[in-house]
Amino acid sequence: MSFLAWLESSALATAVAETLWAYPLLETLHALGMAMLLGALGLINLRVLGYKPELPLAGTQDLLPLAWIGFTLNAVSGIALFTSDAIHFFGSYTFRIKLVLIVLAGLNALLVGRRIFHEPALEPAIQAGIGTRAFAAASLVFWIGAAVAGRLIAYAP
């Protein structure tokens, strides 16, 4: 708790809470990062699941920088938003669910992400293995769940 209170009293937290434009700016960046992350990972995962087989799976790797920029943008803006009201956010179950979903999505990407691009299924006509497809579906569920939980923090306990 004392760490959270210290966070809330930090210069960053004070700036976010007291500057008129800082909070909406950070929220806008957070929504933009979400669209980049979900757009890029959404297409890669749907492609693994068999959507748009005309897209070479190997080529979808070029979308990863977009996902990383979105993730970084959201880590930075998310931390800044968190510090401004650290005790409230930490106490919110919806916020905790969101963090768990992000950790699950991250583990999923770490364990399976690489495998996707090293499979023989890189050729358009070949279907990805059932295991890989299951992880792609899980990735979609985790990220969409994180976005939904994030939006609901303002309403749910």
């Binding site: 806008t28 929504a31 297409l43 070029d62 969409i144 749910a156």
Partner: protein
């Protein structure tokens, strides 16, 4: 104008949204997912037109447009319902009308794109390289939708 806004807020739809718990939160969350489809899809298409991710052929990337339309339709519906709920508050905000104006410009820009695609698309879509005017349209599209998002978020504070 003001009477219309007051009347909107007194309709059965507005009252239902006010009285049913979680209704507004559900609309906002759906609006957020619609934004992900709309802006996520537009970003993938526009960035590809600008030359990013060249290994992905253009025709299937342009085939992502139904996602953009689905996101747009979702957000017109949820956005209209949220507007009715808070008509006198939203309708008097400059940020709200800025958002609408930017959306109109983005729509006009999309119209220019579809006309250009119908006229000259045959020459460059298969080749996978968009000509300079199309790249300009793609850049404008990214800027306008970013503006729509920004004005939308700012509305809550202005």
């Amino acid at each position: 104008m003001t009477e219309t806004l007051i009347w909107l807020e007194s309709t059965a739809i507005a009252r239902a949204i006010r009285e049913i718990p979680w209704m507004y939160a559900a609309f906002e969350t759906t609006h957020y997912l619609g934004l992900a489809m709309l802006v996520g899809g537009i970003m993938l298409i526009d960035l590809r037109l600008l030359g990013f991710a060249r290994r992905l052929p253009l025709p299937p990337m342009l085939g992502l447009l139904p996602w953009v339309w689905a996101g747009f339709a979702t957000n017109v519906v949820t956005g209209s319902l949220m507007f009715v709920y808070g008509a006198t508050s939203f309708g008097t905000k400059r940020m709200f009308w800025l958002k609408m104006a930017l959306m109109a410009l983005a729509g006009l820009n999309a119209l220019v794109f579809s006309v250009a695609l119908a006229r000259s698309g045959g020459q460059w879509v298969a080749a996978g390289r968009a000509p300079a005017p199309i790249k300009l349209v793609a850049t404008l599209s990214l800027a306008l939708w970013l503006g729509v998002m920004t004005a939308g978020r700012w509305m809550a504070y202005a």
